[in-house]
Amino acid sequence: MHLTIYAVSVLLSMILYAVVGVYVGRKYKGLENFFVVGRNAPTFFIVGSLIASYMSTSAYMGEIGFSYRGYMVIYMAMIVVANLGYVFGANYFGRYIRRTEVLTLPEYFGTRFGSKRLRILAGIVTVIGLSCYLIAVTQGCALLVQKITGVSYAAGIFIILLSYALFIIYTGSAGTLFVETIMFIVFAVMSIIVVPSIINAAGGFPDAIIQAAMSDYKPDMYSWHGPHSGASPAYTNNVQSFNFIVKYGIVWLAVLAVSPWQTSRYLMAKDEHRVIRSGMLAPIAACAVLIFLNVAIVTVNNVNPDISPVEYAFLGFSIDYLPTWIGIVVCCGIMAAGISSCCTFVTLVACSVTNDILPLCLKNFKTKVSNTRVTMAIFAIVTAIATYYQPPAVMWICYFAATWLAVSWLYVGFASVWSRKLTENGAFWAMLTGMVVFAVLSTISYFGWMTYNDWFIPEVAAIVCSIIAAWIGTAAHKDKSEQEIRYFQLMHEAPKELYEDKTAWKKTMRYPFIGAAGCTLIAVILVFYYYLPVREAFSQMGIL
């Protein structure tokens, strides 16, 4: 082990997060504070927490490695489709969930349909999905620790486990929310300030982009479809590239709209105005943080096109080729993104287990803060062990977990708020069918028992099956309980805060304009930063 300046900086930042987390967390006592921070969070904290739990080592190691391979455009196109999940999720799902004052999403599904089996199923979906995601994020963090300290992979996992578990077990959601917001600021600043350094090191603007666009080694890196030939392409034709945008666009849209680690943030919001505003600001933050960095990372190929594994592309380049202080910022930023997601996942899983699964499965089990803390500790240790035995594949494990949640919850989530017809039986079978169909189709593909046609998208097939199961299930049992009817009405009754404060309403009504203007501004910057240099490259190559 060698204590480099990078390792010391990351260690200091971890200590800072732990101190802040413990300091903030000690002010919040009781179950509701531990789970949802007393439902008092302002817009900035909600946005910070949304982005921090969304972006993890998957974004800065897995997906950025994907961009480095030359698939930046399909990845960023997928992100812009997915960002609609924030807009629609906050407005058509998140604010209605907040009205129910539940502590977890599985509790919402269970109470909405008056169903124990649905609550347990939703809890199980949450635990399995978030466990996979946590494994992937921990892998990314462990790889980073390994790179900057030279310790073994196992030791890296142990260091990561200690760095987040020790304070998050004590502070719960309160610490998570505050620390995540700080971490969001750290990695957002990092993502912006590192861009000029990367471009300069790769040949300066716009030459670096033109040179990368004209590469023979990995051709078409800036084309919309990415490389279909050259060094180990991920896709071999345009249909496959387009499918990536469609299927993962839908999957991540669903994740941002209805997944537990995104919508649980809305449960913490001070009021519904904050939920709507957060949903409009989050896409700007997500786009701004990701797009410029991902365009820049392709130019790293000008300096070194063979970084392996590709997960090290951003981190390795920053340490090896950029000024030391930039490397420090990058290490701290990536670690902040990873640890923030670890905090969210451990908290959510423990809350689901102690609030939704164990009380319904074990007699005499009561949901208490102490039980939740013990569950957090056990879960963190179990996932650390699982991480050690799972070969690193940061991006694809995250995508599996995201898809797992999306296919199970997308239809049931929105229909639970907007469909008067959907019954408990329909909701249960829709969730179960989406999950099982996806698991079966993925297993068939993973073991190579069958190769799917380029036009067949298993994720979309699973969502369609989930919708069909909802219809059949509802048709089979049309009767609704009193609770289902009452709960549905309750969700659609606007709270006083909505019609008493016209000033707040007017302020909220400005946010769609702010959201649209922010994203348009990013598109305009992209014209100068990406489009014109690439056009110049194509012109020099005689393509235009």
Partner: protein, 46 residues
């Protein structure tokens, strides 16, 4: 350059469409809330 042009256009267009849909629904809801608030105030007055 068609795909690349579409990429840029999409980057601006998709958020604008999303924001427009949300704005329309918020406006409708705001009107409902203002009406409800007026009714409540009248009831208190009576």
């Amino acid at each position: 350059m068609i795909g690349e042009t579409l990429f840029i256009v999409t980057y601006a267009l998709i958020p604008i469409i999303g924001a427009a849909i949300v704005y329309a629904s918020l406006k409708k809801e705001y009107k409902k809330c203002v009406d409800k608030s007026t009714v409540d105030t009248n009831e208190i007055g009576e």
